[in-house]
């Protein structure tokens, strides 16, 4: 793996390695001095064509904790707004010596194009592209689920474990969601069972080929006792550009697919609630549910930094800038001991 473009890039062992590495990164974050020298001398560019303060800050924090130099490039107010193409922007960044480009783009496939066009030689990390993929979000979700659901309620060390046997319901605007696409792939890779729940208008044509069950009835799914409920943001901005009308009214959506105190009470005691944020409180999730002890939404944000540290570490540490270690068969060999991390 030279880039991280899609959750599908990871096989089971690679995904578990990222989660294990994230665990080690998280451990370092409990220390007084959180910064590691691991990526000193490396340059990470955050190339954001679409607004996303939290994801950008998360990646920026992760890179800085690993001592990388970070350049933030926002399309707004940049040469992009003057008509510069992705290609020319990438060539500029390449000339400036970027070892990794973390890209957020409104167009599905833009990170893929960047990675394989020859416009940059650095590693490319997809930080969300259109309706396609958001692999680090899926990894941080999986990391959060593993902490809570694998082992003895998170107290036991889950290192090396996957999510076999875990049932996750992903609820809401699946059609427009890169989070859902990424999670379906990664959760299945890790052995979890996934049920997508949405009104039929928000389920993509072709979903039958996905490794997930589909339901239009949230209450029915909750009654089966899922271990986790992942609420998706209703992406009203994408709906307006696609003609709107995906559901009759916000109230009807909330009645059918909103997570509130009543539905929360149906869940098993151990079940957790996730949301990628930002939340539409009162639409897909009530304040009761969002602020309940079961909600691990704030923890997801914290875990995001650890997971992104792990990803940057695995892509950039070792070898030449822009390269990474490997056995030539797509497998990752990473020294995750603290000696290496402090080298």
């Amino acid at each position: 793996m030279r880039h991280l473009l899609s959750a599908a890039d990871l096989d089971r062992d690679e995904a578990v390695l990222v989660l294990d590495t994230a665990g080690q990164m998280a451990a370092t974050q409990a220390r007084e001095i959180k910064k590691l020298p691991t990526l000193r001398g490396r340059t990470v560019v955050n190339l954001f064509f679409e607004d996303s303060t939290r994801t950008r800050i998360s990646f920026e924090t992760a890179a800085k904790r690993l001592s990388a130099d970070v350049i933030n490039f926002s399309a707004k107010g940049s040469s992009v707004s003057k008509g510069e193409s992705l290609k020319d922007t990438a060539l500029t960044l390449q000339a400036m010596g970027a070892d990794a480009v973390v890209i957020r783009h409104q167009a599905s496939g833009a990170p893929h194009t960047l990675a394989y066009s020859g416009w940059t030689h650095g590693a490319v990390v997809n930080a969300g592209d259109g309706m396609h993929q958001h692999p680090t979000q899926a990894l941080l979700d999986a990391y959060t689920l593993r902490r809570h659901l694998v082992g003895d309620g998170g107290r036991a060390d889950a290192t090396g474990r996957d999510l076999a046997g875990v049932h996750v319901a992903i609820v809401g605007d699946v059609l427009h969601s890169r989070v859902a696409r990424s999670n379906v792939q990664l959760l299945r890779t890790l052995g979890a069972r996934v049920t997508l729940v949405a009104p039929p208008t928000l389920v993509p044509v072709g979903v039958h080929s996905w490794p997930a069950e589909v339901s239009y009835d949230l209450d029915e799914v909750l009654a089966t006792g899922p271990d986790a409920v992942m609420m998706l943001r209703v992406q009203r901005e994408r709906m307006s550009s696609a003609g709107g009308g995906f559901f009759p009214s916000p109230l009807e959506y909330t009645r059918g697919y909103g997570l509130d105190a009543r539905r929360l009470a149906v869940l098993p005691d151990h079940a957790v609630v996730l949301h990628p944020g930002p939340m539409n409180r009162g639409l897909e999730i009530s304040a009761d549910a969002a602020d309940s002890p079961r909600a691990v939404i704030v923890e997801q944000v914290a875990n995001g930094v650890a997971v992104r540290m792990a990803v940057l570490y695995l892509l950039l540490a070792g070898g030449e800038p822009g390269a990474r270690t490997g056995d030539g068969q797509g497998r990752t060999h990473v020294r995750t001991d603290e000696t290496r991390a402090h080298a």
Binding site: S85, H105, A107, S108, G109, T113, L114, R181, V205, G243
Partner: protein, 436 residues
């Protein structure tokens, strides 16, 4: 004018014979050709297939307006190399081909270039806006003698405007060629809606958006008793509708592109914009249906939808890339690969779908004719045994957005004759200065 003696050629893939071209016509066949062709330039054509010159109902030459992507000169060079002796130049130029002046300009540019006949397609509506009929009659009566009208690139989606267009062109035996795309169902669409689009996160272009318009239009054509041509049909459902309409006696013809005969939406994986096209590449089931439809005559013609684009319009992310593919120089090879070499069609059928049928639909009297004494010598000589790897940079078209780049295809055009004059010999263009 040079006379040519094609020795051992196989007209329509039949028995080898000699063919003499003189004074712009097929002068003689067989032993008579050999006897009369003593001074002729001999083209050794043993084993080569001789077809009537190919006719394309669907070419984008981009001039005027986007000469950086293609000019009439470069596009018709490509056409000649592809075996075409006549092309219809689509109306979505800048300015739009919606007046007699612009269609005459394009027609004259084609005539002056001299590589093949250029027949401008007139826009159905002013500025392709879909609201007000363009001056169809003026275009029909201009020097360009337009008979095919289309807003291609856009669908005439207002049913009243479509009805009026179908009725109006009857006065001069015109045909409305529809780009069947229901606009509301395809807002923001980037590729075929299905398994692949769902996975790639690209907004889908559903089959029904095409089929709904095809169904509506055949009923309109029946109601007003006019001629309708369905451009670049791409779905199994559309094939079924056209089959039903023909069985009902409706005067409808249909076209499929080479790329829809060969490629599926799986090619979108990897987000390579060379495979971004409108209508989009469909599923394997759709590809099978259009092949079957072409073989059984439901689909009348192969149209290239040659759509050149400047490099910067394709050298970008998928969403920002233009729709379209080049196709003039690979069309015949693709048809050979998927229809002839698989035994689904003969060379006689190829002559029908790539020459006589499009000529008939476009009302071209001198094209698509039988290979017989006295007929215009618009001919294409093909080596079906040849194989070649497509290298877009080596093609004559000014653009490089071929979906077949790097792919090996069968067959090659050895020679093309336009009214007895060689535009291509030995697989290379015969430049103006070398013509006699």
């Amino acid at each position: 004018m040079t006379t040519y003696l094609l020795t051992g050629a196989r007209p329509l893939g039949g028995d080898p014979t000699d063919v003499l071209l003189a004074d712009g016509v097929v002068a003689a066949l067989g032993a008579q050709a050999r006897r009369a062709g003593g001074d002729a330039h001999v083209v050794e054509a043993d084993g080569l297939v001789l077809l009537p010159g190919l006719v394309d109902l669907h070419t984008h030459l981009r001039e005027p307006g986007r000469e950086d992507a293609e000019t009439v000169e470069s596009g018709t060079r490509a056409a000649a190399l592809g075996g075409f002796t006549a092309v219809h130049a689509m109306a979505n130029t800048t300015p739009t081909q919606d007046t007699a002046g612009v269609v005459e300009q394009v027609w004259r540019l084609g005539r002056d270039a001299g590589w093949c006949d250029v027949h401008p397609v007139g826009a159905v509506t002013v500025g392709l806006a879909g609201e007000r009929l363009a001056e169809l009659s003026a275009m029909a009566r201009s020097a360009a003698a337009v008979r095919v009208f289309s807003d291609d690139g856009r669908c005439v989606h207002d049913p009243v405007v479509m009805r009026r267009a179908l009725e109006y062109v009857k006065a001069f035996d015109g045909v409305v060629a529809q780009h069947a795309q229901e606009p509301r169902l395809t807002e923001g669409a980037q590729m075929h809606e299905g398994v692949v689009s769902a996975e790639l996160g690209l907004t889908g272009w559903p089959s029904v958006a095409e089929e709904a318009i095809v169904a509506r239009d055949v009923l309109l054509a029946e109601h007003v008793g006019s001629r309708l041509h369905v451009l670049h049909l791409s779905t199994a459902g559309s094939v079924e509708i056209v089959r039903w309409a023909k069985a009902r006696g409706i005067d409808v013809t249909a076209e499929v592109t080479p790329h829809h005969l060969m490629l599926t939406d799986e090619r979108a994986r990897g987000y390579d914009p060379r495979f971004k096209v409108n209508p989009p590449l469909r599923t394997a089931e759709d590809v099978e249906a259009v092949r079957e439809g072409l073989a059984d005559g439901t689909i009348d013609t192969v149209g290239t939808d040659h759509a050149p684009h400047a490099r910067e319009d394709k050298d970008c992310e998928w969403a920002a890339a233009a729709f379209g593919m080049t196709g003039l120089e690979t069309a015949l090879s693709v048809v050979q690969a998927v229809m002839v070499d698989t035994g689904r069609m003969t060379w006689v059928d190829v002559a029908r779908v790539m020459s006589s049928a499009p000529a008939r639909i476009g009302r071209l009297t001198g094209q698509g004719r039988p290979i017989a004494p006295g007929e215009p010598a618009n001919l294409t000589l093909v080596d079906p045994a040849a194989r070649r790897v497509v290298v877009p940079e080596q093609q004559a078209t000014a653009s490089v957005n071929s979906p077949f780049a790097g792919q090996e295809l069968p067959g090659s055009v050895v020679a093309t004759f336009l009214r007895g004059r060689a535009t291509v010999l030995d697989g290379a263009l015969v430049e103006q200065g070398a013509r006699v």
